[in-house]
Subunit: 361 residues, 2 copies
């Protein structure tokens, strides 16, 4: 309205000039954030180009507990799937002190030197408490972290091994889609984490050191039977003779084990990750294994079984979660457990009590 | 109404005499059946007196799939519980051909000779197909079956290991209430049955023979690490030297395994069940073990853990049964499995599809 036309009390004076409601600063911030959070489509395109920043962002979405993030993550994984599944997945375990980081650093550097692209992941359900006990500190792999053809990601955090394992499995898909052809998954000999890692890799490697007492080697029972190779690390200096003796002993022990479904006979070798000795042999062993199992069909069979295993695990975990969080079940659980411990009720009768409460909802 | 009083058309003539609606024969039959099927209270009283016929009848109720029988079984178990839990439970495994029956016969006879009351049960999920491959034929234990202080029961049949295992666990309770102080549970090295047996016994014994190839010894991986004792059977005649050599080898292998939670160091010994040599030593080993674990608290701890394990197993099995028998889940399962095998979907996404269908009921 033109103020000069109607000189009445109804007119308004022009006020002072107002600043833009959208300041340039704020606008830039929003634009920056939009740039920070690309669409799933953009992320997928970038991942397929091998962009590590995009890969990291997608993994962060996978690890997020927010529903919106999970939805995005699911769509990214779905789009990456056709380009995934083309790598060798290697699990590495060993108690703290056997030199896992030094080994992975040396092994990873060797792999990139022969043209491989290496992703290093970790499963450590304890890391949410200890704030990343393994791989949390990337500086432990100084050389590898700077390597253009390597990608290192600390363990996802989470309260359950199932949750951490799922995130790691989905991270494998993303890494493969980003062109990483060798995936190393590290775990520490705690709880059920080796079983989880064993169920998502093609080759399982157990790292040991010679001459250490049983306490130090105190890795979970059953791990030795899972191993496709036992590597006795720190075979350097005064340790060489001890390592060789340990090799003989493990070889003797392994031949007492039954034949593996893969038809592979587990190997024992020594190495010094520190002196970078014996690293090449490890890769040679893995190559031999992969050739064998790709020939006899076990490679594909194993991956198919692993896929089905993880589908069923996810279902099972959810069913249990729903059950044990059910109000009436929660109300009855402790008293039934107590009666069970006092032999006042049989395990089956206790289970029936709880199941009745659950299904009567 | 008296027909002589009112001679009208409304009256009725007496018909011919009707036979008793309940014939004497039928009555006897019912009475006989009632006698055949005593009340739960009667069965419990008889079981507690050590009556083997009552024990067998109760076990038959436990094994029945009829709801009425299961209800009776549950009430019997509940009443037997306070008198149960006072035995040594021993698991015995070994591939066919190692002489399990001969060993159990010799071992059982030795135990009764020193005043023990021995019950021999079996877990063989395959027996419903093969009609009782182990312990089906009691004549394989001719001496033991005639022994007043021994009780032999073939494996319960069933389609799932979980079902068979539950029935066996409940049978243990009944046997213990009947005064059997040594429970032997036999299994054959098939599928997950050793794991099931291991989860319900105090002591786990692996029977082997010397000199047999890996194929013959082809027992499931992980069994060796479960064993509290490895017994090399058939150490007789020409086999003695070979058995001794095998003993040395197994001893060497076992010391490479991590320490057991029970603090027990597994032992290796040779025996000849046929010549009844080395049988006494087996019992001595078990006695030593029991003393150790009763002292250090592991015996009780292990039984408590086993109870909780079986409660949770029963719940988990039921949850899965309900899930996989759900109409919508069944309709979607195959296509999701197929997509999974073709890497068109991630295990987690497939699981989500099925879970959504389940919970939308």
């Amino acid at each position: 309205m033109n103020q000069d036309k109607n000189k009445t009390a109804l007119q308004e004076l022009n006020g002072i000039e107002q600043p833009d409601s959208l300041s340039k600063e704020a606008l830039n911030k929003v634009l920056y954030q939009r740039k920070q959070q690309p669409t799933p489509e953009t992320l997928v395109a970038q991942i397929l180009e091998g962009n590590k920043t995009a890969l990291s962002r997608a993994i962060t979405l996978v690890e997020s507990t927010q529903a919106a993030h999970q939805e995005k993550a699911n769509s990214i994984i779905q789009s990456c799937l056709p380009k995934a599944n083309r790598s060798i997945r290697i699990g590495i375990t060993g108690v703290p002190g056997v030199g896992k980081s030094t080994f992975i650093e040396a092994f990873g550097k060797y792999l990139t030197s022969i043209g491989k692209k290496v992703a290093v992941l970790a499963i450590d359900p304890s890391s949410s408490i200890s704030h990343g006990s393994i791989l949390g500190d990337k500086t432990r792999m100084e050389e590898l972290v700077k390597d253009e053809n390597a990608y290192i990601r600390p363990s996802a955090s989470g309260n359950t091994l199932g949750g951490v394992a799922r995130k790691t499995r989905e991270t494998i898909i993303l890494c493969e889609a980003a062109g990483f052809d060798t995936i190393i998954i590290e775990t520490v000999g705690v709880g059920q984490s080796e079983t989880a890692v064993h169920s998502m890799v093609d080759f399982f490697l157990l790292l040991k050191i010679a001459g250490a007492g049983d306490e130090l080697q105190g890795i979970k029972r059953g791990i030795m039977e899972m191993a496709d190779a036992i590597i006795i690390n720190k075979a350097d200096g005064d340790n060489v003779a001890k390592a060789k003796l340990a090799k003989t002993e493990f070889n003797r022990a392994l031949h007492l084990f039954p034949t593996k479904k893969s038809q592979w006979t587990p190997t024992v070798s020594t190495c010094s990750a520190y002196e970078k000795k014996g690293i090449e042999d490890v890769w040679e062993t893995i190559t031999k294994y992969i050739n064998l199992v790709k020939d006899n069909g076990y490679f594909e069979e194993n991956r198919r079984n692993q896929n089905q295993f993880w589908m069923m695990e996810t279902i099972n975990e959810q069913l249990k979660l729903d059950f044990y969080n059910h109000k009436q079940v929660m109300a009855l659980l402790e008293q039934n457990k107590k009666a069970l411990q006092n032999n006042e009720i049989s395990p089956f009768a206790a289970a029936l009590n709880l199941l009745e409460a659950y299904y009567s909802k």
